[in-house]
Assembly symmetry: C2
Homo-oligomer: 310 residues x 2
Amino acid sequence: MTNPTHTLSSRVAEGGALLKQDMATRAAVMESAIDHLLPPTTGGDARLWDAMRYATLGGGKRLRGYLAITTAALFDVPEAQAARVAASVEMLHAYSLVHDDLPAMDDDDIRRGQPSTHRKFDEATAILAGDALQTKAFDILASSKTHESAEVRIDLISAFAEASGAAGMVGGQMIDMEGEGRALPLAEVSHLHALKTGCLIRYSAESGAILGQATPDLRARLRSYGTAIGAAFQIADDILDTTATAEELGKTAGKDEAAGKSTFVALLGIDGARKEAARLTEQAIADLAPFGARADRLRDLAYYVIERRN
Amino acid sequence: MTNPTHTLSSRVAEGGALLKQDMATRAAVMESAIDHLLPPTTGGDARLWDAMRYATLGGGKRLRGYLAITTAALFDVPEAQAARVAASVEMLHAYSLVHDDLPAMDDDDIRRGQPSTHRKFDEATAILAGDALQTKAFDILASSKTHESAEVRIDLISAFAEASGAAGMVGGQMIDMEGEGRALPLAEVSHLHALKTGCLIRYSAESGAILGQATPDLRARLRSYGTAIGAAFQIADDILDTTATAEELGKTAGKDEAAGKSTFVALLGIDGARKEAARLTEQAIADLAPFGARADRLRDLAYYVIERRN
């Protein structure tokens, strides 16, 4: 007989340290890749590049980039190649945070424990830096100097655009704003988060399969894994927004409730939300079955997204 | 003996009517393509798609899209294929206008004689609509259902990203803002406009050569043509900003001077600016020599950009 709670706890204890170390190693690789891709300049546009670097370097969990690198490793894709894809998705994620934090959007002064980009620079610079980070993300995928064929790059760019545009992340942000101050049913909350954060996490997990030219079955499994951990990640975010302090989060706490947003916690209660996150984690782990022990860090990650403190 | 002034006037008179008709025909093709690529929706994201449609449909000169279609026609690229590239560049141009008009940027309430997107909707929707239009522009190039090879699509996406990102259009916008209230020398004003508006116009002219898999020489000629008319276009814009009324422009007049921007008119005087624009036009026309009579509309266009009233 398996005790799922015990399995979960011991698994986190065993894999947590290895995951933490691996995430730190890969984060350093990504940091270096981003630093290289966004060199500081000295001309009249120096402020723009400074803001782009400020928004992307020096922090963050790098969850999306880690997924790209780790799923690519399943198919023996060289790390330098995967690191560019990781840098690209981290830049896109950073642009979305820069624009989300603007006064006209979530109006947030703190991000990762530091002034948000429009507070550090100014609103116009933040708008432009976000715009240019999005462009750069696509540019990196198109102009890869490494070994992908044009077909692979087009496949990546299509999946990336689908995940991040009006039918993905940005569409989710719009639905999120439109839903403020109204009580949304669970299906709608799930749908908006599937778009707002889920699509890009799913793409990140899938990107390794695209780079590795995986079989349709393995690619579908990584998509499914990404979808599940994306949903679990958002539920954990809602739980943290209720239970953690701003110091732990490195950003404003309790802001969803303050903004009148419908959350998983409001709909399911804390215990119900935790159970749903655990169910999604188990499903994500089931998706990894064909990869055997090579996918252990991805298994650890599935636990990490619901156990994290920030 | 050639009298350049006479040549210019008679040329405009002869070609102007044909160009006007051709631009209207191509604009209708683009309008239909954009309408198809940005279908209205009814879900929680309807406001986003409405704003994207508002910002892109129903107006504008479509100069960039016209260049894409007309240069592609030189290489017998099917119009439906070129129309997608044209729609893509018009969406990118529209996103840049939506973000430029925001209160934190140029704070403009009028665009093409109508309320700017953030005035018609709201600031958050305008930010997101601009973001999603940029994504869609790249998506269209990647996911083309027509006949381009993956290599051609990657070539287009790379050139497009280079022209529109931090080293192109957005970089130019930043330099423009940084230069407000300071007297910039002519070289710097030329450089900022080459980035801010020139790069995307140059890309538009080049895109037909990329689609048509032109020889390097012909592609370089269309790049050079695009660079010259991009510069002439901006000088004409500066002249119009000084001499035209808001009614003629469909946007606020005299705003460059009010914003303390260095303009070609301020640096060269009206007559000097007109002469420089005419010189660039003649150079653009010289670039078209190898294309013979097939490029007549592109010649007419070179005159049009400096003769237009809005």
